[in-house]
Symmetry: C2
Subunit: 510 residues, 2 copies
C-alpha cells in the first residue's frame, strides 16, 4: 500500500507529490519520488507561466542565469530533497535542464543533471505497422506509474499529430519527440525531399502543442557520414540515417547544422530543450567509440555552446551498444567536449547476443554509465530489435531502468538514495513482509512471488520464508546473535545454549 | 537451429562438445560453448581417472604442479579456444581450478579462472517446505541447457542424499554442495550439536558420491562474529549463521577452522575443490565491505595457503549485496589477500529495493565484478528473498547471468568472445532473421517476440521490422549508404537520388 501525499512549497499552489509507504513497526513512513501524476491531468504550471508573462525567451536557463528561482525549480528541488538554489545553479551552469515547454502546463517539474537523481525515459509511439492512439496514452500512464520520468513519443505512420496531442494533454511528465519523423511524413517519406522549411514548420507546430524536448540530429554532418561506412551495423539511428541520406543526396551540409541558430530562437520562445541526437551512435559492440561516433560528439559540443548563447537548455544523447570497458570513455569525452551538459544515453547494451533480453544487457551498461555521470537513461525493452513494446514490455523496461538509475544514485551518493534500501532491508531482516512488499519497486510482483510458495496469511508474519524453511533461517539465527552480542560477548555461552531451544523451534509444523 | 558437434583432442576419447550455429549466408558456422551435456549421462572421464590410478593426492593442482597436462585440462582448453598449457599453468599457480572429483566421471571438464571465460553457477535444491528429487534433476538439465557451467545442490530437508545422488549421476557439469546443511540434518537441526566428526563424515560421504566442490565456511571465526552484530541485516549466509551460532554457544574456535588441514587431506584424495564460503557476506548495501566481511576474507586467504600446501584446489566465495562503487574493492582485496585464487561471487546485488527483480539488480553487479576479475558468478533468480526458484526462474537467472558473464568476457577481451556478438550483429544488419534468432542466447524467445508483431513467414526475410516499419528503416538506409560509399564519395549525388526510389519502396503494402 502506498499513499499519495503532497508537500507544499513556498506558495500554496506549489504542491509536490510523493508516494508514501507506511511502515508497520511504527517508524516514520518512507517517502518515494512519484512520477505517476494526478488521476486527472491538471495544468499545475499555468499560473506560474502566466505570472512570468510572455517573452522572446522564457527558458528556465534564461531565468536561472538571472538568479531567478522559478516555482518549477523549487518544485523539482523538493522532489529531490535538495535546495532550490542548487537546482538553479546547476541549470544556470548548463549542467542540468528542467524541460518545461510553456505550452505543457500539465507537466510536474523535474530536473535532469548529474547532481540529481538519475532519470529514466520511456519511449512509446505508433508505427506504420502497429498500435493506436488510445494504446499509446495507456502506455504513457503505465510507464509513469512504474516510474518513467519523461516519455518520448516516437510515433511514425499515420496520426502522429493526434497521438502527440493526446499524450501531451494526459502527461504529467515532460514529453520528448523527434520532429524529423513527422517532417519526413510530410514529404512522403523521402528524406531527399526534406528541407529546413518543412522541418522548421514541424518544430513550431510541435512546440505550440507543448513538446518539452526535441531530439535534433544536427551533429550528423556531411563529412561524418563516410566514417560510418565500414561499420558492422552502419547507421542505426533513424534520424541519423535520414540526415545522412539527405546530406549525401544533396552533397550539402545538413540543414539542421546550418540553421541551428534559428532553431535556438524558436526553442527559446517556448522553452523547448534540445536533446542533441546521436545519429551516429554504434549499433553493435564492434562499432562502439569509433571515429564516426566521436566526430559527431565533438559537433554536439559546438552546438551546445550555440544553444547556450540563446539561453536554450541542452542535453546530449549517447549510445547505444558499448562493451563495459569502453563505457567510461563515453562519459568522460561527453563531459569534456560538451561542457558538462547533461548526458542522456540509450542503455548502452553491453553485448549483442541477447535479443529478447536487451533490457538486461542494457541495464548493466545503463547503471554503469549513470554511475560515471549520465543524467538520464533511455530505457530499452525486451522487444528491442524484435518488435514494438507492448504493455508488459514497457513495464519490464521501466523497472529494469529504475533499478539501474537507483543503483547509480547509491553509487554516486545522492543524499536521499540509501534511505529506501535501508528501510527495505530492515523490513526484510525483521520479517515485516508487508513492509518489504510495499517498499519494493514492484509490490505486486514481489507479493505474488512470495505467495507462490507460502500463500497462507500467517506466512506474512512468519519469521522465515520458503527458501530455507523454518529450521535453517539465517535471519532468525542472526537475531539471536544480535541479542547475544547485546548481552556482551563475555556472557557465558551456556546461556545461549539454554535459550537455543527457542531459536530453532519451528514456527509451523514440518 | 543448433547442432551439437564434437572436436576431438589428442586422443579419440577426448571429444569436446560445441553448439554449432549454421549461417544462411554461406559463411562458416559459429561454434558456441556448450554446457548441455549428452542426452544420456556417460562416464566420459572414467578411463582418464583409471589410467592415473588411485593415490593419496589425485587433484588437478597436484598434476599441474608436476607439469602434467591431464586430459581434463586439454578438454577444458579446447572448450575455451586456448592452449592446454595455459590451463595447466593457471591451475598450477592457483589462479584457476578444474573441479573434477574422481567419483564424478560424468562431468565434462571445465576451468574456472580469471583468464578464462566467466562461468555461471546455478543453485538448485529441495527445502523443507517445497520440491521433489525429480523436480531438482529437471532443474539441473534445464539450467545446463541454458548455459549453467556448474550447479550447486543446496538441498535441505529430507532426502538430501538421494537428491544429490540423482543430480550427480545426471550431471555433465561439476556439482557443488554445502555439506554443513546435511551435517545439521544429522544432529536434528541444532547447530550447537554439530561437531567436527559429524561434519567430517558427511564430507567423506559426499566426496564418495562425487561432489566436485564444497562450500566450507571455515572463515567464520569466533572473533569475527561480534563484528556482524551492528549490521542492518546481520548474518545472511545460512552456513555462516550456523557456524556463528556454534562458535558462540561453545565459545570455541570454529571446528572448520581448527580442523582445516584434515579437511584438505580428505579433499586431496577425491579432488574435491574448496569453495571457501563467505559466511559473513553482506545482506544489504548498508553492510557491504564492512569489518566482518573483510575479517573473514583475510582468513580465507590464510586457508587458501594451507589448502595449496596440500595441492587442493581453492576458490573464494564473495558477496552478496554491494553498491556499484564498492564492487572493485572486493576483487582487489580478494586477489591480494587470497593470492589470486579464483573469486566466485553471488551477484552482487547493487540495490535492495527490487525484490522480484534481483536477477537484474545482481546481473549489474555480476557483470562489473566479473569485469574486474571474478572467475565465476553464482546466479540470482527473480525469486531471491521471496521463494524457491521454479523452472522459469532458473531460466531467467541463468540467462541474466550468461549475459553478465559474456559482457565481462568482452570487456576483458577473451579472444573468442567477440566473434559471437559480431556474427549476430552482421546477421542483424543483413536482415538474416533466422541467423539472428539462432545465434541468440535464447532463440525461442527472440523468435516469439519477433512473431508477435510480424508473424508471417515473409517477414523473416523482410528488410525491415516492426519497430520502424518498411519506410523508415535505418538499417536499410545504411545499406544504401554503404553501397554509396563504396562507389566513392566523389560520385555524383544525383545517382543516389536516382536510386533512392528503391530504398524507400515499401516491401509490404501499408
Amino acid at each position: 500500500m502506498r499513499n499519495k501525499v503532497y508537500v507544499t512549497g513556498s506558495r500554496p499552489d506549489l504542491r509536490v507529490p510523493f508516494a508514501e509507504v507506511p511502515l508497520s513497526d511504527g517508524s516514520a513512513p518512507v517517502r518515494l519520488y512519484d512520477t505517476s501524476g494526478p488521476a486527472t491531468p491538471s495544468p499545475v504550471r499555468r499560473a506560474w507561466i502566466d505570472e512570468r508573462g510572455p517573452g522572446t525567451n522564457v527558458t528556465q536557463l534564461h531565468y536561472a542565469r538571472r538568479g531567478i528561482t522559478t516555482p518549477e525549480m523549487e518544485f523539482a528541488a523538493i522532489r529531490e530533497g535538495l535546495p532550490p538554489a542548487l537546482v538553479r545553479e546547476e541549470i544556470a551552469a548548463g549542467r542540468a535542464i528542467l524541460p518545461a515547454n510553456v505550452n505543457h502546463p500539465e507537466s510536474e517539474p523535474m530536473v535532469i543533471g548529474s547532481r540529481f537523481l538519475v532519470k529514466v525515459n520511456a519511449n512509446i509511439g505508433t508505427s506504420a505497422v502497429t498500435s493506436t492512439v488510445d494504446e499509446e496514452v495507456a502506455k504513457l500512464t503505465w510507464a509513469t506509474r512504474w516510474g518513467a520520468d519523461t516519455v518520448m513519443d516516437l510515433s511514425t505512420g499515420r496520426r502522429i499529430r493526434e497521438t502527440r496531442e493526446a499524450i501531451l494533454r494526459h502527461s504529467a511528465v515532460p514529453i520528448g519527440t523527434v520532429p524529423l519523423y513527422e517532417a519526413l511524413e510530410k514529404v512522403g517519406g523521402d528524406p531527399v525531399k526534406l528541407s529546413w522549411e518543412v522541418f522548421r514548420d514541424t518544430v513550431i507546430e510541435q512546440a505550440e502543442q507543448g513538446v518539452d524536448y526535441m531530439t535534433v540530429h544536427a551533429g550528423v554532418r556531411l563529412a561524418h557520414v563516410p566514417l560510418a561506412a565500414e561499420r558492422i551495423t552502419g547507421i542505426v539511428s533513424r534520424g541519423g540515417s535520414i540526415m545522412a541520406a539527405w546530406c549525401l543526396a544533396h552533397h550539402e551540409e545538413s540543414f539542421l547544422y546550418t540553421h541551428f541558430a534559428e532553431l535556438c530562437e524558436i526553442f527559446a520562445r517556448y522553452d523547448v530543450s534540445f536533446s542533441l541526437g546521436d545519429g551516429l551512435r554504434p549499433g553493435s559492440v564492434a562499432d562502439a567509440n569509433d571515429a564516426a561516433q566521436f566526430a559527431e560528439l565533438r559537433t554536439l559540443g559546438e552546438l551546445t555552446s550555440i544553444a547556450w548563447e540563446h539561453d536554450v537548455q541542452v542535453m546530449i544523447e549517447g549510445p547505444g551498444h558499448v562493451p563495459m570497458h569502453k563505457i567510461k570513455e563515453n562519459v568522460d569525452l561527453q563531459q569534456e567536449w560538451c561542457h558538462e551538459a547533461p548526458f542522456y544515453t540509450l542503455g548502452p547494451l553491453t553485448t549483442d547476443i541477447a535479443p529478447a533480453y536487451d533490457h538486461i544487457t542494457s541495464a548493466i551498461g545503463a547503471a554503469m554509465i549513470a554511475m560515471y555521470g549520465t543524467a538520464m537513461l533511455c530505457y530499452v525493452t525486451p522487444k528491442e530489435h524484435l518488435g514494438l513494446p507492448d504493455r508488459d514490455d514497457v513495464k519490464a523496461g521501466v523497472i529494469a531502468y529504475k533499478i539501474a538509475a537507483h543503483a547509480a544514485d547509491l553509487a554516486k551518493g545522492h543524499p536521499t538514495a540509501r534511505e529506501w534500501d535501508d528501510a527495505l532491508s530492515r523490513a526484510r531482516f525483521e520479517f515485516r513482509w508487508e513492509d518489504q512488499f510495499n517498499l519494493s519497486l514492484d509490490p505486486e510482483t514481489a507479493r505474488a512471488y512470495h505467495d507462490e510458495t507460502l500463500p497462507a496469511a500467517p506466512a506474512k508474519t512468519a519469521h522465515f520464508c520458503s527458501m530455507c524453511g523454518p529450521k535453517f533461517c539465517s535471519m532468525r539465527i542472526s537475531h539471536e546473535l544480535k541479542e547475544y552480542a547485546a548481552q556482551g560477548m563475555a556472557a557465558k555461552s551456556e546461556e545461549f545454549v539454554a535459550s537455543g531451544g527457542k531459536v530453532y523451534l519451528p514456527v509451523v509444523p514440518r
